[in-house]
Amino acid sequence: MPEFPGFFAGYIEVSSRQALSLCYVALMIKDDHEVPLLAVKGVAKQFGNVRALKGVDLSIAPGEVHVILGQNGAGKSTLIKVLAGVYTPDEGEILWNGQPVTIADPVAALQLGIATMYQELDVVDGLTIAENIFLGHEIASGGVLNRRKANKLTRDLLARLGHGDLSPNREVGSLSPANKQIVSMARALSRDIRLIIMDEPSAVLDSEEVKNLFRVVRELTSSGIAVIYISHRLEEIRQIGERISVIKDGRSTAGGLAVSETPTSQLIKLMTGREIENVFPPATPVALDAPEVLRVENLSVRGIFEGVEFSVRAGEIVGLAGLVGSGRSEILETVYGALKASTGSVSVLGDRLRNGSVHDAVHHGVGLSPEERKSQGLLLDEPIFKNVTLSSFARFARVGLLNERAERAAAREQIEVLELRPGDPDRAAGALSGGNQQKILLARWLVHGTKVLLLDEPTRGVDVGARSEIYALIRRLSAAGTAIVIVSSEIEEVLGLADRVLVIGEGRVLASVPATELDEHSVLDLIMEGSAA
């Protein structure tokens, strides 16, 4: 119960703002009458001469789902790490239940009751579910592990999260990303946690798994646990979030907006500082006489997908829609030669590609932007220009001698065209944001000169502003005659970009339909029908 002056002040505050919407007032009451679980005031953090956070405010109420929005590089990750005790802020204060606290290290954060689920899930693959959950606070007497009790508690926790079917003895390495996330959450719950920070939890999930995640999140909040939810997917935020705070360039631009009251255009403006009207740029129709560039016939990989057939013409964008695990990424990888096909063939402009040879595919002008940018796409310690020319440095070379001057110049040209930031070709690729790393991969194939571009999740972990730039780029590439195949777990993205959509279910092509004849529901219907058949 607040003290009298505080209460009084709160009352005045409320009455002075009665002109505002009822909802807003309700939030003010929530803010002022209940002590927020967590309050962050004017937090700043500097690394060397880079100011990552310049003044962030945040107020989290118990039991709410609070969304933090911001472009890549806005400072979200730094803020999370400050709350998780990884970094100590240079300025500002953090109040926990109204008391000023310093979070010196990750253990201190856990002791306060703050758990963090990072994007790269911090579970140990070689240990069992139970061992992971009690890692660091093992249940033991006199140094001897009490396996039975740990397993029982684990079973209870998993049941609470709606996953009673998972065995505590199962090795975590054998779990899907969705289930690893459940383990990560169960670990948070195994301690006395009041606040869970989730950094893009849906990035590795398909739509069915996201639904389950939301169910779990609601279960957590109903027992009074607050959730800080970070995501780039605005439609998700609408479903799960209650209030939104926005960060731009290390500063809070809005705090505690009600999700239901705030239009998307306003959110984008708060995040990017500019208006983005059309996320998806308009399509140019494929010319009727456009030649067929890519032809895939009866392609199969035993046990994953079979009998896949499609062709892509110059300037056409074909989207593969399907659930995670439907085989859509594997189809791309097989077309590219990264997986060996058990039957079938892939040809580019009539030339049949050698089965299982990426080298041959690249030689014929096929390029892939892989799903896992960091682990499959980039040399993180190497400069931007070497990443851009990774597929083509041999072409710049004469009798095996590198020509770094020409490579740098080519990279610089791409940096300009793609608005890649920072624009220094000698900067290490690992220091760039997700959107800019994606641009490096596109630049790689632009420099190499591809006829067929395969894009696997081109906007995963890319913020809204950079997304529309990447969409525009893909469109421009296609307008210039590149045949493009795109895979995305966001059906909206496939529909917005593709001319034609192949619906994939259980390793088969269920339908091939012009994108204009589909909407999100009809795609899901097609998938369901196909799975039932």
Partner: protein, 350 residues
Amino acid sequence: MSEQTVPSAEPISPAAASASGEPAERGSWLSRFLGGGAGRNLGLVIALLVLFVIGALTAGDRFTNVDNILSILRLASIVGVMSIGMTFVIIGGGIDLSVGSVAGLGSIVATLATVQTLADSTSWLVMVVIAIAVGVIVGFINGVVISYGNVVAFMATLAMLVAARGFAEIVGNRGTLIVRSQEFIEFFRANLLGIPVLIWIFIIVAALGWFLLNRTTFGRRTVAIGGNREAARLAGIPVKRHTVYLYALSGLTAGIAAVMFLGRTNVGTSTHGTLYELDAIAAVVVGGTLLIGGRGTIVGTVLGVLIFTTLTNLFTQNNLNTSVQAVVKGAIIVLAVMLQQRFAARNKRR
């Protein structure tokens, strides 16, 4: 994003790209220097200078005279040549434990009676070619087993370490074979500009290694594969084939080392090069090459080799026993790797 040129789907011709002007490089000269490979090697240069100062203070003229300096370099030359090949393998994300015994095997095969008879009737260079060929063949086998047999490099080359030594014992009948060719012996006994041939070989191999790593597509592929194998593969680099080349290259330098053993001792024996693989790996790692691959320099490796051999010489000059030497060497390896980790961490945070 308003008025921009459509990115062309045509390949950018290298000529056109290089024609567009190059703006001034950014960043101060000093920070670029310290951040780059040269800056990291500065620490090694300082360490080497410190060793020289200690040598001069403790052993005086015995240490600093030209003959002693040359004997340090001669001592460094054989393991140095091996280390150059090893640097490539380690930057490429692998390891080669077999180089020492490959050098032993090469020295035996090159001094077999039949080979020497052939050399007598033609040229002593036959022995050189045979020794190097043995190295390349064994390295090639290593590479194929690792790349296409999917055997972990550590185990494949450990197996070769044992097998090559055994094979050398069989072929050489556990004996010592003497080099008959006087021309061969003369060549390696000679000096050029006052510097022994063995040291020249080290200098040439190191220079070629530097060029290969920094200025050729071969070097770029090596760094890419060591830095991110999957990304390199998906970018169209023939990763498996290149890995075979890397081990063949390491075999090549081990073969050259075999020739150098023959030149220095005038005998071929299966015990040549025993434990040299560990000295070579230690020199490469102390020289700043990451054991996980993707980063390393030839200059660092050369400095690493010089540090170890100078240290050995320093101990001998001061009549300290080899056991103390071994302990100090171990400490230096740990210290160097710890410093490397700190540097890597600082770089990450940048």
